[in-house]
């Protein structure tokens, strides 16, 4: 690097100093603004509240779960491997709750993933702007309906339909199939809108390139756009799974009120979240085993959903690198 050539000053320094006010130089010095500092710290504290919330969640769940595991009648091995959950007779196997959670989530995903993806492809690659303008708000309405309403829907609409199709003696009033299907409907708008975002992020030039090679629209959509958006779609799917695992009201209302280890979707079974909400809805003594056990289940639920969310964020981060 060559030293830039020194320019001759426009005004002679001597002449400049004669017009300089001594007080003015003092005024240019940095001023103390205590209020600015106070406000900044206040705002910082507000931002910290979210970190404190996380810390609180981890502390509360961890502490109470630890108290649970330190009880003489509880062992971690039994918690993980046991197949019966009945605190009244000191049986603490979380398996029935986990299996019911997986069952409803899986049924839900079987509905939500294809449905959400297809809706997203339709909205992003087929629908005219006007159609999109009508359909997007419908999806938003679906996404905004409270989950308790979906629970009502599962119990009073979907379950009777299942009973009519498969028979009343096959399908119990409370069953995981109905809850799972409705969980699927509930997360479909989420899958659709996140997937549509991912498809939307695929540059238009790729679509044009595909069409200029003589591709039909579905070949373009399925063989160029969807593969190009794959990581974004994967992220959407994982978030949807996390949402389904943590979904509470639908399963609390429609899936059944008793832990049961069954893979029969037409029988009732209680999920982790469903169990927490049912037990804590009753009158519960803060020192009881039941109370503490809820936090162990809560901790497990939290860890599962957190793991899924972190995974999804990692995928999204990698996917951004591809396009930028």
């Amino acid at each position: 690097m060559v030293e830039p050539q020194r320019m001759k000053p426009l005004v002679d320094r001597g002449a400049l100093s004669t017009v300089t006010d001594v007080d003015f130089a003092a005024r240019l010095r940095p001023q103390r603004r205590p209020w600015e500092a106070v406000i900044e710290s206040g705002l910082f504290v507000a931002a910290l509240v979210s970190v404190l919330t996380t810390a609180g969640i981890i502390y509360v769940l961890g502490y109470e779960a630890l108290r649970f595991f330190l009880l003489p009648q509880v062992t971690l091995t039994e918690f993980v491997t046991g197949t019966v959950w009945q605190p009244s007779i000191d049986q603490f196997g979380v398996m029935p709750l986990v299996s019911a959670t997986l069952l409803t989530s899986m049924i839900g995903m079987l509905v939500a993933l294809p449905l959400g993806l297809f809706i997203a492809v339709y909205l992003s690659e087929y629908a005219a702007p006007r159609t999109r303008g009508v359909l997007k708000p419908i999806l938003e309405v679906l996404a905004g309906v409270p989950t308790v309403v979906y629970g009502f829907f599962a119990l009073t609409f979907v379950t009777p339909i299942l009973q009519n199709i498969f028979g009343r003696n096959v399908v119990e009033i409370y069953n995981t199939a109905s809850a799972g299907l409705v969980v699927g409907i509930l997360v479909t708008p989420l899958v659709a809108s996140m997937s549509e975002d991912a498809l939307h992020a695929v540059p238009d030039s790729l679509r044009q390139a595909a069409l200029s090679l003589g591709a039909t629209r579905h070949e373009m959509a399925l063989r160029v756009v969807v593969p190009a958006a794959l990581s974004g779609l994967a992220a959407a799917f994982i978030v949807a799974i996390s949402r389904a695992v943590g979904e509470t009201m639908v399963v609390a209302i429609a899936a059944g009120a008793g832990p049961a280890l069954t893979l029969n979707p037409f029988k009732g079974a209680e999920t982790m979240a469903g169990h927490i909400v049912r037990i804590s809805g009753g009158d519960l003594s803060y020192d009881s085993v039941d109370y503490k056990s809820l936090f162990a289940i809560g901790l497990l639920l939290f860890l599962i959903t957190l793991g899924l969310n972190l995974l999804s964020q990692r995928i999204v981060a990698r996917y951004r690198e591809v396009y930028e």
Binding site: I39, G42, L43, F44, A46, A47, V49, S50, T53, T54, G56, V60, E64, F118, I119, V121, Y126, A127, I138, V141, L142, G144, V145, P146, T147, V148, V149, G151, F152, F153, L155, T156, F157, I185, P189, A192, T216, R217, H218, E219, A221, L222, R243, V245, G246, E247, T248, M249, A273, I276, V277, S280, G281, Y286, G298, L301, F302, T305, L306, N309
Partner: protein, 429 residues
């Protein structure tokens, strides 16, 4: 060349060369086109399934909220008319006298304990007369679709089983439903305390989450260095919190607000109640729990609104010698306000429908009085819906459906407000 001349039959141009396959390529346009149509159909059908799902959801709620009700009575209400005035038209004082005459001392006492007769509304008193004196008994309810399509069959069935019962068409969602208290009798039960509970809870949530969310967003967007480790931790943390199941927030609220901060959240520090009678399961605890729940959403939405404020505005302000906070307060926040408020409405609509965390925090199952402030015991609309849905009797399904309609109406008006705000800001920019 006009459009008509494009027709090959008019121009006589051959079509064949274009459609002939190229050497080595099957092209198979017919097959591919057929496949394309199948896929497109699949995409459209999927979208329709989504619409049908929403349609059946609404249909199901409406179907349950209206319909025929068969009522049997023990005493003919006409015999209770006084001085030529029908029972339904009697004033409150007359109804109260009627109750004192007809009811057993013990029953009267229980009712007076709940709320004195003199303090009750005419509507309420009439309800009590009907259940306790007239002996109104619901012997059957039918959903709207059944009521309309099978009315004859229902009438015939009823004539056989309950010859004295009267069949009336009932809209479960009616003004009295909004204005009456919760009651064990579904015919008289209302959502007054639940609506008030929801409004109080939301008020607490907004008062806490709005300033906290905006402040955090201002810090993250205007102050924090984006590449600092702490900033990234905070940002990642907010994104993660948005994905935590709501029921976990309920457990946090239960431990922190209901138990740990009980002296504060129960209002004991105001009333001087002893710790023995203090109860942290109050509107304040519920509102704070929901505030933590919507905080990530509120921060993310506020950040977006602040980010959308053009940088030139900030530079103009700095150029005039304003400090950073002056710039934010006088220019950035006012410009971001509509976006922030839209985000707040979205947070509120999330909070207003939340059920699970409030069950955990400890909503009361039976409340017969209006909540009077942040330290009251509470119930909210979604909890009420949950409890009614869980009952086996069909009448409770019907009032659950009516309560759902009330909840959806509240949400709809909130969303309409958000759309209105959004459109107004779009016009301005």
């Amino acid at each position: 060349m006009s459009a008509a001349q494009r027709d090959p039959s008019v121009t006589g141009r051959p079509e064949a060369p274009l459609l002939r396959g190229q050497e080595g390529y099957s092209d198979n346009v017919t097959g591919r086109k057929r496949q394309a149509r199948r896929w497109e159909l699949l995409f459209i059908v999927s979208t329709l399934v989504g619409i049908v799902a929403l349609g059946s959801l609404l249909y199901n709620v409406l179907d349950s909220a209206y319909g025929l009700v068969a009522i049997d009575v023990k005493v003919d209400p006409a015999s209770l008319a006084r001085g030529g005035v029908a029972l339904e038209a009697l004033p409150a004082s007359e109804l109260a006298t009627l109750l004192r005459e007809k009811l057993k001392k013990r029953d009267l006492k229980t009712i007076e304990k709940e709320q004195p007769l003199a303090a009750r509304s005419t509507e309420d008193l009439l309800g009590i007369v009907q259940t306790k004196v007239v002996g109104v008994d619901v012997v059957g309810t039918w959903v709207l679709s059944g009521s309309l399509l099978r009315r004859r069959a229902i009438e015939a069935e009823l004539a056989r089983t309950h010859p004295n019962a009267t069949l009336t068409f009932k809209s479960w969602l009616r003004p009295a439903f909004l204005s009456s208290q919760q009651s064990p009798d579904p015919m008289r039960s209302g959502v007054r305390s639940a609506i008030l509970g929801s409004l109080w809870t939301i008020l607490v949530t907004i008062v806490v989450a709005l300033p906290l969310g905006v402040a955090a967003a201002v810090y993250l967007e205007e102050y924090a260095a984006k590449d600092r480790r702490l900033t990234q931790v905070i940002q990642t943390n907010i994104n993660n919190l948005a994905g935590v199941p709501s029921i976990i927030y309920g457990m946090l609220g239960l431990t922190i607000f209901v138990r740990l901060l009980e002296p504060l959240t129960s209002g004991a520090w105001l009333t001087g109640a002893t710790s023995a009678t203090a109860n942290g399961r109050t509107i304040l605890s519920a509102g704070l729990t929901l505030a933590l729940l919507v905080l990530p959403l509120q921060i993310i939405n506020s950040q977006e609104a602040i980010r959308a404020v053009p940088g030139s505005l900030r530079q103009a302000s700095y150029g005039l010698g304003a400090t950073r906070w002056q710039t934010i307060w006088a220019h950035v926040l006012p410009s971001a306000l509509p976006g922030v408020l839209t985000g707040t409405i979205l947070s509120v609509s999330r909070a207003i429908g939340e059920t699970a965390p409030l069950v955990v925090v400890g909503a009361s199952t039976a409340i017969f009085q209006d909540p009077s402030g942040p330290f009251s015991k509470f119930t909210v609309l979604p909890i009420q819906i949950y409890q009614w849905t869980s009952r086996p009797q069909a009448e409770f399904r019907s009032i659950a459906a009516a309560a759902i309609l009330v909840l959806l109406a509240m949400l709809l008006s909130l969303n309409a407000a958000a759309v209105f705000l959004r459109n107004r800001t779009q016009v301005r920019h």
